[in-house]
């Protein structure tokens, strides 16, 4: 597949956003950008299985939670540092996805979606009962843990840089998957899985791999997020609403495009941030989010990028 110019603006764009808090030394901006990057990475990962292969993983947050728990456990009880713990967490999430995918990827459409919700809720309830993971109350870092990073204040910046790296890697990998032969196979599965199979696409292997990729990055994101948060508990790690926010961002930006989830995440975070602190709307932000989602589903199923691509043909090489 021919590659367009999307990455030539997407990566610098993300870098500009990421460097802004560093240059201005603004902690506030850092907090905001951290959340934006986290959303970008989560949305771009979900997009691999949902947008490319057409499998709507409704409970996708489960991999973020699993990654978070694995990394937190390693850091808290074993004393592993953030980056190695994060890599282990990502791999563990990906392996879990391979195992879970072996089973649930046989299901299709809405049934698959429900099954993924079931997986998330089951794992959440299980973790809630496991005392070595702290049960319902979860685990807390002792503040001393941040000393290895030069104190709490520096540790947050450290977490921020790691998040920037994870996000960039997610976006680039997601782009290369899309424009590769592998991506083409995934798209053929999305359009017509049976036909893809008949045409010689190893659909089972393709789906499993896509699912593993889309779980790997959330696993790492979870690791970084909970490192920064300093504590982890099941309600936060396996929060179904966050799962649906991920879908929302993918839909908002453009289902199946590489740049869509990035834009979707960016807009969504800003929108939510603004609505939440706006005295007029803060109590209605849920309703507004629902309304916007409904409008997208009904009138612009291609999301922002889909809309731009259909309006301006010239943009097709730039917006992929």
């Amino acid at each position: 597949m021919k590659r367009g110019y999307t990455l030539f603006w997407l990566v610098p764009f993300l870098l500009v956003i990421s460097l802004y808090p560093v240059v201005t030394k603004s902690v506030i901006a850092r907090e905001t950008v951290f959340i934006i990057l986290m959303y970008v990475s989560l949305a771009a990962s979900l997009n691999i299985i949902m947008g490319y292969a057409g499998y709507v993983s409704f409970g996708h947050i489960v991999y973020y939670g699993i990654g978070g728990y694995v990394a937190f456990y390693l850091m808290h009880h074993v004393g592993v540092r953030l980056v190695p713990a994060m890599l282990v967490a990502g791999l563990f999430s990906a392996l879990m996805a391979l195992a879970v995918g072996e089973a649930v990827l046989r299901l299709r459409g809405a049934i698959f979606a429900i099954a993924t919700i079931g997986v998330n809720e089951a794992i959440k309830s299980l973790v809630t009962n496991l005392s070595f993971l702290g049960g319902a109350t979860g685990m807390f870092f002792n503040f001393k843990i941040y000393r290895a990073y030069g104190g709490a204040a520096k540790a947050i910046w450290y977490a921020y840089y790691v998040m920037v790296a994870v996000t960039l890697i997610t976006v680039v990998v997601s782009y290369f998957i899309k424009t590769s032969k592998f991506g083409l196979g995934l798209f053929s599965i999305r359009e017509d899985e049976d036909a893809a199979f008949v045409l010689g696409v190893n659909t089972k292997r393709f789906k499993s791999l896509a699912y593993a990729f889309s779980a790997f990055f959330p696993g790492m994101v979870g690791a970084v997020f909970f490192f920064k948060a300093g504590n982890i508990e099941p309600e936060d790690a396996f929060h179904l609403v966050k799962s649906i926010e991920m879908i929302f961002m993918v839909m908002l930006g453009g289902y199946g495009t590489a740049s869509g989830p990035v834009l979707g995440a960016l807009i969504y975070e800003r929108l939510k941030g603004m609505l939440l602190v706006n005295p007029l709307f803060k109590n209605l932000h849920l309703a507004i989010a629902g309304f916007v989602l409904l409008l997208i589903v009904l009138f612009a199923p291609g999301g922002l990028v889909g809309y731009l691509r259909s309006k301006f043909r010239k943009l097709r090489g730039v917006l992929e």
Binding site: T24, S26, I28, A29, E31, S125, A136, I156, D236, N283
Partner: protein, 417 residues
């Protein structure tokens, strides 16, 4: 394209630059989040109402006296809705500190949310007065800026056991139940330890999921163990429901002691199901803490009297205050005292003042641990209340400790069936 992008990036962040402007020091900004929505809404609102009453009280006197500036500074609140969820707590506290210029922080309601917020307070070195958060475990994480108003969870239900022992030395079988939350687990675990030490037999020690509304099967299971007493619980909704279903199923136990719910005045709405339920409470309007009591103990009395607080609160909100409201008020009061003692707004000096604090308020004694559990409340004591019938109306009476009691305990619980 590039121009378009730079405009976009520019616009996105223009707002945040403009908002971070410099402000003159003409007020003390206190930041916090409250749960305007979500499952903790009820308790959080009471806490906020108490806090708001303090703000108006202190501002009506011109504010808090700051010696270094030689004048009184009024108190300004900045607060957001945390939706009873940790998701945004940290982001919002970072915002409070950095963008809204909060000088001091008050915790959100509940141990879970406070634990999250405490990390931010510590990371930025801001003083946070923690109220509505009783968990002990927040205080052995190495924080040096978080100070607890509530009697910690480890001392929550111990009094209920002392009470039971005093009432009925033969009662041995104990069922301990708890909600799967930070706070309830801490309380239950501590109670179990204490019970075993005191020679009770814990026949059931089990948790239930947050948000549980159906305790039917759980109650069946409890009944099958034939306990003399049931102690435990979680927060308001589950506690109220538990008490209601306990009554509906006519479980025969001698003592029922539940967390949080029975202490809230609204508990009376379940009618006869509330009768004879006992509960630990951080504070009750009928508890007798006074200037005289403080003098007797040789510690400083600070702030308004309980009568004043109850009267003003009722005037304003139309109902008697519960301990969440009192906790809110006292959080402000403690901060006020610490700022006055420090004589300035510098966080580290206020921390020193808090370390040294040893006062009595209408809410009871206040002093903080400075050892392994730095910042944990060490002076304040729980009182134990029971819902009783007076002139055909349900009322809360303080029944334990005997020195603070306003009525005699009614025993056993199943007397009402």
């Amino acid at each position: 394209m590039r121009r378009f992008l730079s405009v976009l990036v520019g616009l996105l962040f223009l707002g945040s630059i403009l908002a971070g402007n410099v402000w003159a020091k003409n007020k003390i900004v206190i930041g916090f989040t409250m749960s305007q929505t979500g499952k903790l809404n009820a308790e959080s609102k009471d806490q906020f109402d108490g806090l708001k009453l303090w703000q108006d009280w202190v501002n009506s006197k011109g504010g808090i006296y700051v010696k270094a500036l030689g004048k009184r500074l009024p108190v300004k609140f900045v607060y957001y809705d945390d939706e009873s969820s940790k998701d945004r707590v940290q982001q919002l506290y970072v915002r409070l500190i950095n963008k809204d210029g909060a000088d001091f922080l008050i915790s959100p309601y509940s141990s879970g949310l406070t634990a999250s917020a405490a990390i931010i307070a510590e990371q930025y070195g801001k003083v946070m007065v923690a109220t509505g958060a009783a968990s002990d475990s927040i205080f052995n994480k190495g924080y040096t800026h978080v100070f607890q108003i509530y009697t910690p969870a480890s001392r929550y239900l111990t009094g209920s056991l002392d009470l039971l022992k005093a009432l009925d030395p033969k009662a041995k079988r104990l069922a301990i139940i708890y909600e799967q939350s930070n706070f309830a687990k801490a309380v239950a675990t501590a109670a179990k330890k204490y019970a075993e030490k005191k020679g009770f037999e814990v026949v059931l020690f089990e948790s239930y999921a947050k948000g549980t509304t159906d305790f039917t099967s759980f109650l069946n299971k409890i009944a099958a163990k034939k306990p003399d007493a049931i102690i435990g619980g979680g927060h308001f909704t589950d506690g109220e429901t538990f008490a209601k279903q306990l009554y509906e199923q006519r479980i025969r136990v001698k003592l029922v002691s539940l967390l949080v719910a029975p202490a809230v005045p609204k508990f009376a709405e379940i009618g006869k199901a509330a009768l004879y339920v006992t509960a630990p409470s951080q504070w009750e309007p009928k508890a007798k803490y006074s200037k005289e009591a403080a003098q007797r103990l040789g510690i400083e009395w600070y702030g308004p009297t309980a009568d004043w607080f109850v009267r003003e609160y009722k005037k304003r909100y139309g109902e008697a205050p519960g301990y969440h409201a009192a906790g809110g008020f006292v959080a402000g009061l403690v901060l006020q005292k610490a700022i006055e003692d420090a004589g300035c707004l510098d966080s580290e000096k206020v921390v020193k003042a808090l370390e040294k604090m040893n006062i009595m308020t209408f809410y009871g004694a206040i002093a903080f641990d400075t050892g392994e559990y730095y910042g944990r409340q060490k002076a304040h004591e729980m009182v134990y209340l029971q819902w009783q019938m007076k002139n055909g109306k349900l009322v809360k009476e303080v029944i334990w400790p005997e020195s603070a009691a306003s009525a005699k305990p009614v025993y056993p619980y199943y007397k009402k069936y």
